[in-house]
C-alpha cells in the first residue's frame, strides 16, 4: 500500500520524475485518449516489471538494456494486436503513439531502477503505483485540455463499439467563452503542462511551509 501511494504522489511519473512526456502531451486532446493511454502504460509496466523481476538474475549486466527493451517491445506488440482486434477505432486514434510505449522512459526507467533490485512483489506493487500515478496525471491533463479546447468531456466514444454506449457530455451550454481552440493544438499541450507543473510546485511549497 505504501509503495503504491509513493508511486502516485511522491514519485509521480509526470510531475515529479518528468518521464514519459511524449504520450502525456500527444494523446491528451481528449479525456478518453488520455485515460486509455494511461491504462496501456499501466498494463505494459505491470507485465514488464513482473517478468524482469523474475529473470533479473539470469541477465548479464552488459546486455541488460537490450534485453529489457525487447521484453517491453514484446508486451507492447501484444497490446497493440489486442487493441487492433477488439477496438480498432481506438487503435486508429492512438496511432503511432501506441508502439511508442516501447521507448517510453517510465517503463524502462522503472525496469532498471526498481525491478532489477527488488523482489517480485515489490516490483509489481511499484508498477501499479507508478502506472496509476501516470494515469491520474494524464487524465487531469486530458480533462483540462478537452474542457477548455472543445467544451466537451468524452468518457466513452471510441470504445463505445466495445462497451455498447456512448458518453460525450457538453460542459457549458450557451457560452461564447469556450471552446478556446488553442488548447487542442500542441502549443496548448505545452502550455497546460507548464502551468500545471508550476501549480504543483506552488502546492508543494505551501505544504512544506505548514509542516
Amino acid at each position: 500500500m505504501k509503495t503504491i501511494k509513493n508511486g502516485i504522489f511522491n514519485e509521480n511519473a509526470t510531475f515529479v520524475l518528468m518521464l514519459g512526456l511524449c504520450p502525456t502531451l500527444a494523446v491528451t486532446n481528449t479525456f478518453e485518449g488520455a485515460y486509455i493511454m494511461g491504462l496501456c502504460v499501466l498494463v505494459v509496466l505491470f507485465f514488464t516489471n513482473f517478468v524482469i523481476s523474475i529473470i533479473k538474475k539470469l541477465v548479464p549486466d552488459n546486455v541488460r538494456i537490450p534485453v529489457y527493451i525487447l521484453i517491453i517491445g514484446t508486451f507492447v506488440t501484444v497490446l497493440d494486436l489486442t487493441l487492433k482486434k477488439y477496438v480498432p477505432v481506438l487503435h486508429e486514434t492512438l496511432g503511432v503513439y501506441l508502439p511508442l510505449i516501447t521507448v517510453n522512459c517510465i517503463v524502462l526507467g522503472r525496469a532498471i531502477s526498481v525491478a532489477t533490485v527488488s523482489s517480485v512483489k515489490e516490483s509489481v506493487l511499484d508498477a501499479i503505483g507508478i502506472g496509476l500515478g501516470f494515469t491520474f496525471s494524464i487524465m487531469l491533463l486530458g480533462g483540462i485540455r478537452e474542457i477548455l479546447g472543445s467544451n466537451t468531456i468524452t468518457l466513452m466514444d471510441g470504445i463505445s463499439s466495445f462497451t455498447g454506449y456512448r458518453a460525450v457530455y457538453q460542459v457549458l451550454p450557451d457560452t461564447n467563452i469556450l471552446p478556446i481552440t488553442l488548447f487542442q493544438t500542441p502549443a496548448g499541450a505545452f502550455l497546460t503542462l507548464g502551468l500545471l507543473m508550476a501549480f504543483f510546485n506552488f502546492i508543494k511549497e505551501k505544504r512544506s511551509d505548514t509542516r
Binding site: 518528468m18 518521464l19 514519459g20 512526456l21 511524449c22 502531451l25 500527444a26 538494456i65 537490450p66 527493451i69 525487447l70 517491445g73 514484446t74 507492447v76 506488440t77 497493440d80 494486436l81 496511432g95 503511432v96 508502439p99 511508442l100 516501447t102 521507448v103 517510453n104 522512459c105 524502462l108 488553442l182 493544438t185 500542441p186 502549443a187 496548448g188 499541450a189 505545452f190 502550455l191 503542462l193 507548464g194 502551468l195 507543473m197 508550476a198 501549480f199 510546485n201 506552488f202 511549497e205
Partner: protein, 188 residues
C-alpha cells in the same frame, strides 16, 4: 505532394517536436546548454537517417514478403539500439573530435521516440524510398534546429527574473508552447 513541399513540411510546419510531440524528453532534458543541444541535434539527425534507411529496407524486403509485419515494433527497436551501439564504438575509436561532441548523447538515443517515431511514420505514411529519405532528413533537421533555438533561449533564463514557481521545467514548457505557436502559424 512534391518533394520540396514535403521537406519544408516535415522540417517546419509539421515539426517533429512542436507538432507531432515526439522526442520531448531530450528536448527538455538536454537543452540547458547550447553545446549540449547541438550535440544532441546532430546525433539524432545521423541516427535518424541511418536507422530510417535500414528499417525501411528491412520492412519492405523482409517483413512484408514473409508476412510478419506484426514484428515491426520489435524489429525496429532492435535495429535502432544495435545501430546506436555500433555507431558509438566506431566514433569512439576512429573520430576523437566527434566523440567529444556526441559521445555523451549517443547512448540516450537508443530509446528516443523521435527516431523510433520517424521510422514508424515512414511506414504508416506509405512513402516510397525517395520520399522516405526526404521526410527523414527534414524531420531530423527540424529536430536539430528547434532544439538549438530552444537552448539559446534557455541560456537567457539564467539572467532573467522568472517567477519562483515557474523556475526550471515549467518555464521551459511555456517557452516551447510559444515556439509551437510561432512554428505552426507563421510557417503555415
Amino acid at each position: 505532394m512534391n518533394l520540396f513541399q514535403l521537406f519544408m513540411n516535415s522540417m517546419l510546419t509539421e515539426n517533429i517536436v512542436l507538432t507531432k510531440l515526439l522526442g520531448i524528453c531530450p528536448f527538455i532534458g538536454t537543452s540547458k546548454k547550447e553545446s549540449g543541444a547541438l550535440g544532441m541535434g546532430i546525433s539524432v539527425l545521423i541516427v535518424m537517417i541511418l536507422s530510417s534507411i535500414i528499417t525501411y529496407l528491412i520492412y519492405h524486403y523482409v517483413l512484408v514478403p514473409t508476412d510478419t509485419t506484426y514484428l515491426r515494433t520489435l524489429m525496429f527497436i532492435l535495429v535502432i539500439s544495435s545501430m546506436v551501439q555500433m555507431l558509438e564504438i566506431i566514433i569512439k575509436n576512429r573520430f576523437k573530435k566527434l566523440n567529444d561532441l556526441l559521445g555523451l548523447y549517443l547512448p540516450l538515443i537508443a530509446t528516443n521516440c523521435a527516431v523510433f517515431g520517424t521510422t514508424l511514420l515512414n511506414i504508416d505514411y506509405e512513402f516510397n524510398f525517395v520520399e522516405m529519405l526526404v521526410f527523414t532528413v527534414g524531420s531530423g533537421l527540424g529536430f536539430a534546429i528547434v532544439i538549438y533555438i530552444f537552448s539559446t533561449i534557455r541560456e537567457r533564463f539564467e539572467t532573467a527574473s522568472i517567477p519562483k514557481y515557474f523556475k526550471g521545467t515549467p518555464i521551459a514548457l511555456i517557452t516551447a508552447s510559444i515556439m509551437a505557436l510561432v512554428f505552426s502559424r507563421y510557417f503555415g
